[in-house]
Each structure stands twice: as C-alpha cells, then as structure tokens.
C-alpha cells in the first residue's frame, strides 16, 4: 500500500470518528458557516467542536506549514482530505478572512515572530479578522487613504475612518492600511498594521445597503493603539502588501458568475410559456436570455481554459485579467433577467408571498459586485494598461 493510500485510510477513519453527525448535514444558511473568533456566533455548538478537532491536526488550514499550526500537507494529501470530507458530506470546519487573506500576506511579508504569534490563532479559529482598506474618500483610488498612524515609540496612535469593513462589528482584530508618512507620493507612506478591535478607540457601525442589512461597517479610530511589533513589513511599504491581497480578493469575487444555478431559460418557460414551435413565447426576452446563456457558456469555457493553461504553464495567462470584470457584469445581467423572467413575483420586498424579497434583494445586492473589490472601471484600466500596454492618461 502506498503512503497516499495509507493516508487516505487514516483520514477516512479519523473523520468517521471525529466529524459530528450534524456537521455532515448540508449547510442551509450563512449562519452555518463557522468563522471562529473569541465569542463565535454559532447556529449549532457542534461547529466549535468540529473546528477544534480539525484545528488540533492543523487540518483547518491543511496547506500551511506545521510550525505555524497548519497541517503541513502536500497537494496530493490535501486532495485526499478534501475528497474524504466530501465523501461524508463534512462541512468546512473553519472559513475566515484570516485563512484566505491575512495568512497568505503574513506568510509572504510577515516576520518570524508575527507568523508564530498570529498564524496558529487563525488555524484554531481563536481570532476573527477583518480587513481595513477602503475609506470614504479612497474607494477606487485606494492609495489616497488618509487614516493616520502616528509613531509613538513602541506603538502607533491611529486616527481616521474606514468603510466597507466586512463584519467589523463582530471581528476581534483588524489588518489595516494606515498612513505613516505624508511626505512622498501617495503610494509611499502606507503601512500594513494589525491591531485589536477590542479597545476604547475603535467603533464599528453596520451599514444598511439598498438590498437590506449587510456585513459591511463603517469603522472609526479615535486614538486607537497598535503595538509596533504588529507592523507587517517595513513602515511606508504597505502598498505592496495591499496590492498582493487585492489580487486575492478579486479572484474570490470573480467567482460570482460561475455558481451553478437553475437555467434562466427554464424559469422563463415556466413563467411565460412557449409558442407552438417550442420557442419561448416572448421573442425579445428569448434573445436576451440566449445572449446571456451564450456568454455564460463562453465565460465558463474561458475559466476552464485559464485553469488548464495554468496547469500546463504554471501561471495565469492574460485571460484571467477579465474574470472580475466579466464575472460580475454577467451576474448583474443574470439578476436583471431574473426580474424580467419572474415579473411581479420578483419585485416584492416583504411578505411570504415574495420569500421576503429574496429575488429583489439579490438583484440589488448584485449591483455592488462591479463596485467592491475594484470597480469594473478599475478592472478595465488594469487590462488596458497591464495587458494591452496602453499608456496612462
């Protein structure tokens, strides 16, 4: 028996013994996702049990090195772990910004002390992290951020405001872009800093969106304190880390267009009916749906191609630069089509008859896809400059 086969047997046996029954049920809502934290919100106490057991083996983040609390697994082993979890329907034990965003940044840019302090706590789900990037006057132009961090010897004193901080009201720590220097160009003088949200100088206020409540917050810093050992990388060199993470974020958001969904054409046939030849009765809507489904198919082929190219060449080709832009625009089209197809039943806001406005709220929420994580305009600028080599204005 090969090592991998033996590994599979061990994993299978361990999962069978350790994964609680309730953690093998399909997730039914956002609350079933476990983000960890000091006082984690749970839909079921088994969430913490399951997370703790997985974290003990480092399997909440199986690809991180063992010395930082990760599983230290190889690619083939990680695939086996995934397959075996999937076989019994085991839920992910821990899903967090710490794993997807801060961790990679620390592994790339953090010093040894920072890695040893923060990574294991992320693996265990002890600390829930939020991201402090955008400010009211620094949206697409993120680098013009103004939140000030004043050097006070062993710590920084932080004053200013962030916006669009996801779950800031529920998170324990923040990784935050602040300005430590105003003298140079706007890209210089930005620093990447970590600090505890549970201190008097920090206030977070949830933002209500046009689609209803949201995880986003406005976050205010009034003489908040960041210990100097929690400056990641050099002071004034935080922009490099920010750009690294923005790429991560865009790849996450670009997945929107690709989620499996009921074919909009089927919904339309049910809602509007077909003519004698089997064609959708409204020919205008039919064309709009055909164009959408064609572009969805073609976008899917492109994601597959880029994936195959990456496997073959070991890196992402230029086509990947269109994902965020095209995926989010496609999702907006899909949501507008939902309205056209479902008609009256999509336009409700409250009441059971309208599923509490699920369709309309999703539609409104989709409008933000092409704004958050770099607007479509910023994406087009990036393609024009970096891929096509067109000069700056």
């Amino acid at each position: 028996m090969s090592n991998l086969e033996q590994f599979r047997q061990e994993v299978s046996a361990w999962l069978e013994q350790n994964c609680p029954e309730s953690m093998r049920m399909p997730m039914s809502s956002f609350e079933d996702i476990f983000p960890g934290g000091r006082n984690p919100e749970m839909s079921n106490p088994d969430q913490k049990v399951w997370c703790d057991r997985m974290a003990e083996r480092g399997w909440t983040v199986p690809h991180w090195p063992k010395e930082y609390g990760g599983g230290g697994l190889q690619k083939a082993e990680i695939n086996i772990l995934r397959e075996e979890m999937s076989r019994i329907g085991a839920r992910p034990a821990l899903t967090s910004f710490g794993i997807s965003m801060l961790g990679p940044a620390l592994l790339e840019f953090g010093n040894e002390e920072q890695k040893r302090e923060h990574l294991p706590r992320i693996v265990r789900g002890d600390v829930r992290w939020c991201q402090g990037y955008s400010e009211p006057n620094a949206g697409s132009d993120l680098a013009s951020l103004a939140t000030a961090a004043e050097d006070k010897g062993d710590h920084y004193l932080i004053n200013g405001q962030k916006i669009w901080t996801s779950y800031a009201d529920k998170c324990d720590w923040i990784f935050c872009l602040v300005r430590t220097d105003n003298s140079g160009s706007k890209h210089e003088g930005i620093s990447f800093m970590l600090f505890d949200m549970d201190q008097p100088g920090v206030t977070a206020r949830p933002i209500k969106l046009i689609s209803g409540s949201s995880p986003f917050c406005e976050t205010f810093f009034d003489n908040a304190v960041a210990d100097k050992r929690n400056l990641v990388g050099e002071a004034g060199k935080g922009w490099t880390i920010a750009k690294y993470l923005l790429t991560h974020e865009r790849e996450m958001i670009s997945g929107f267009g690709s989620a499996p969904k009921i074919a909009v054409a089927d919904m339309a046939l049910e809602s509007i009916g077909a003519d004698a030849s089997g064609r959708l009765a409204n020919s205008v809507l039919r064309q709009n749906i055909a164009q959408y489904q064609l572009d969805t198919m073609v976008f899917g082929a492109t994601m597959a191609r880029v994936g195959d190219e990456a496997k073959a060449a070991g890196g992402l080709g230029p086509a990947s630069s269109i994902f965020k832009y095209y995926g989010t625009e496609l999702n907006k089209r899909r949501n507008e089509l939902n309205l056209a197809v479902l008609g009256e039943s999509a336009l409700g806001w409250e009441g059971e008859a309208y599923s509490e406005g699920r369709v309309s709220r999703d539609w409104l929420r989709s409008k933000g896809n092409s704004i958050e994580g770099g607007t479509s305009e910023v994406q087009l600028n990036i393609i024009a400059k970096r891929v096509l080599g067109l000069p700056d204005a």
């Binding site: 132009d141 205008v284 409104l364």
Partner: protein, 379 residues
C-alpha cells in the same frame, strides 16, 4: 401639435415641481417606509394635491375635472417621478379614472369621476392574474346567476389596494383566456362580502395588494359598460396608462441622471474629479442623448392621446419600451457611477432603481412592449 409645452402646461409643471419637491420627496418616502405605513402614502399630502386639482387634470370638466388632457397629467407624473412622490396619482387617477372614462356609461362617469377628481374616493384596477402583464389572458370567471354575477379568483399587483375604496375587477362573462370577446369590468366596493385584500410592499416601498374573491355576488349595475365588451376600451386605456407611466419613468430617469452628473463633478479619485475621466464622461454623454430621445417620445405620445390619434398603440408601446430601456440604463449607471455610496440605503440614489423596476414592469415591461411595437409595425 408642436412638440413644445404651452404656457399653461409650463405653469402646471412648475407648480407640480415646486409642491412635490417640498411635500413629497424621497425623504418623505423613506419616512413612510421606515414607519411601516400601511398605505405607503401620506393622505394629507394627497389631500393637498387633490385641492390643486391634480386628480382631475385629465378628467373632462363635465365630470368635475380640469380638462387639461393627458399631456398635463403626464407633466405632473414626470415631476412625481423626479421626486419619487408616493400618492394615488397613478392608481386612482392615471389608471382607474382612465379605465372608467373608456368603459363607463355617462351616468357611471358622473357618479365616479368627480369623486376621483376631488380625491374623495380611491379606485384601483384589479387586472393581473399571473406574474406578467397579459390582459387578454384574464381567466377569472363571472358567471351569471339570476340577476347577478358570481366572481371568484385572485388578482395580483393591485396598486394602493390597502387604501382603496373600490376596485375595477376584470373578469370573463364569456370566452376563454386569450379571447377578445367576453371580458367584462365590474366595480366593487372594498367592503364587499367575499372580497379580501392581502397587503404587500413591493421593492419601491409602495403598497400593493392581492385581491381574493370568493363567490362574490355582483349586481348587474356594477358592470362598467357593456357586458363582454371591455377589451377594446381596456386596451385603449392601457395605452394611455403606459404613456403616463413612461412620463413617470422620464422624470425618474432624468433626476437620477442629473444627480449622477452632479456627483461626477464633485467626487474626486486619483487626484481628479471623476467626471474628467473620459470613460465615465462618454457614458454620461450617451445617457444624455438617450434621455433627450426619451423626452421626445414621451411628449409626442402624450400629445397623441390628446389628439385622439388612431395609432396610439404604436406610440404607447414605443414610449413604454424606450423608457423602460432608458430607465434601466440610467438607474444602473447611477449606482455604478456613485460607487460604494450608491449601494448604501442612507444615500438616496438607490431609491430610483427600486421604483424604476416596478414602473417598468407595470402593464408590460420592455420585452412585452418591444414585441408589441414590432407587431404594431407589422412584423
């Protein structure tokens, strides 16, 4: 008729603009929404509007109206669109009074139109039975039993239903769904036995209702017009109604655009006012062009109503289709160009897109009317 406003119309438009910008703004709509107001409009503001005669603008003087025609009503609806003013101006005045004007006998008009014009009674149309507008698909049966009819079934998307005093209910006294013949209109009081209203709020924060009729007994004199002959008059009324809604969409789109253009002059990113970025500037200029086109077809279609043009159906579907297209683009661009702040409930720009989609959908959306425009054009 020249495609310009006359003096009377300019005065009416300016008066409406002034009043609504003070008394029925987005801020008022927000208050109504957040207070959970059942009716979705302020009866006191509506009273003032009716005192100024707005509920009777398009109603002939013989029936207690001002007789300014639909061009006049369209101008007020345009201003209501600009301010997202919530009132029964659509449900009772544009829709119900127009249907009564088309279908009712002289005595029915005498009984109903002055009361609507005075704001004393609120009437709403109960037509739709499925998620999409398809008037001839009406299936609700009105079966004759002795000297009365029995109606049973469900009607969706009845505007201002919770506040309505009476409903115009379309039902079949003969024929099958799809037939021209056999459609009849009945006037039912809200407190009629067997009639119940399930209220609901749509995405625009306005009140709509689902009407359920269970063996409702209706007398013959509640028939509006001739039995089984409603479809022609209803069709003409729907053309007028869609042109009125196009007027509202025009105001709404123009206001959303103008607010966005202002924002483009204020908001700075990358050290520049964002309106100086040609990518945004060209899109804004294209949208300006579309809005000017929209303004032309709305005015032309309104005038065609008042001229009694026999091709009104073509103009109605042209105006509604074009305004659906323009409103969709204007409201989408409004949010995208505002960026993050446009996504917040606190900022007002998001209210436009919500109202827009409901008005776009009412009585036929873009897909419906572009298809109909092609049919009307003979292909």
């Amino acid at each position: 008729m020249a495609l310009v406003l006359n003096e009377e119309q300019v005065m009416l438009r300016d008066a409406a603009a002034g009043f609504l910008a003070e008394k029925a703004t987005i801020s008022h709509l927000r208050d109504l929404r957040d207070s959970g107001d059942e009716h979705g409009f302020d009866p006191e503001v509506w009273r003032e509007m009716t005192e100024m005669g707005w509920a009777g603008i398009a109603i002939p003087e013989a029936f207690g109206g001002l007789g300014y025609g639909y061009t006049g009503l369209g101008l007020v609806l345009e201003q209501a669109g600009r301010n997202l003013s919530a009132s029964p101006l659509q449900s009772s005045v544009l829709v119900a009074a127009t249907v009564i004007g088309e279908l009712g006998s002289a005595s029915q008009k005498e009984a109903l139109l002055p009361a609507i014009a005075a704001g004393e009674t609120l009437v709403s149309l109960a037509l739709q039975e499925a998620p999409h507008h398809a008037p001839l698909q009406c299936a609700m049966s009105a079966s004759k039993e002795g000297d009365h009819f029995i109606l049973s079934g469900t009607k969706l998307l009845v505007m201002d239903a919770p506040a309505a005093d009476a409903f115009i209910v379309l039902a079949r006294t003969a024929g099958a769904p799809g037939d021209d013949d056999g459609l009849s209109a009945f006037l039912l009081q809200a407190e009629t036995e067997g009639l119940s209203v399930a209220p609901g709020k749509m995405v625009d924060s306005r009140a709509y209702g689902t009407l359920t009729l269970t063996d409702v007994k209706v007398a013959e004199d509640q028939l509006l017009g001739d039995i089984g002959q409603a479809s022609k008059g209803l069709g003409h009324a729907l053309d007028i109604i869609n042109i009125g809604l196009a007027s509202e969409l025009l105001g709404l789109s123009a206001e959303a655009f103008e607010r966005t253009a202002e924002y483009l002059k204020e908001r700075k990113q990358f050290g520049r006012v964002i309106g100086s970025f040609q990518g945004l500037a060209h899109r804004a200029a294209e949208l300006f062009a579309e809005l000017e086109l929209a303004r032309s077809i709305v005015l032309q279609a309104l005038q065609k109503i008042d001229e009694g043009d026999p091709d009104l159906a073509l103009y109605a579907s042209a105006a509604k289709a074009k305004l659906c297209e323009v409103a969709q683009r204007a409201t989408n661009e409004a949010i995208q160009m505002h960026g993050g702040i446009g996504m917040t409930d606190e900022y007002e720009i998001g209210f436009f897109i919500k109202r827009a989609r409901v008005v776009q959908h009412l009585f036929g959306d873009y897909n419906y009317h572009l298809d109909r425009f092609a049919c009307q054009s003979g292909f």
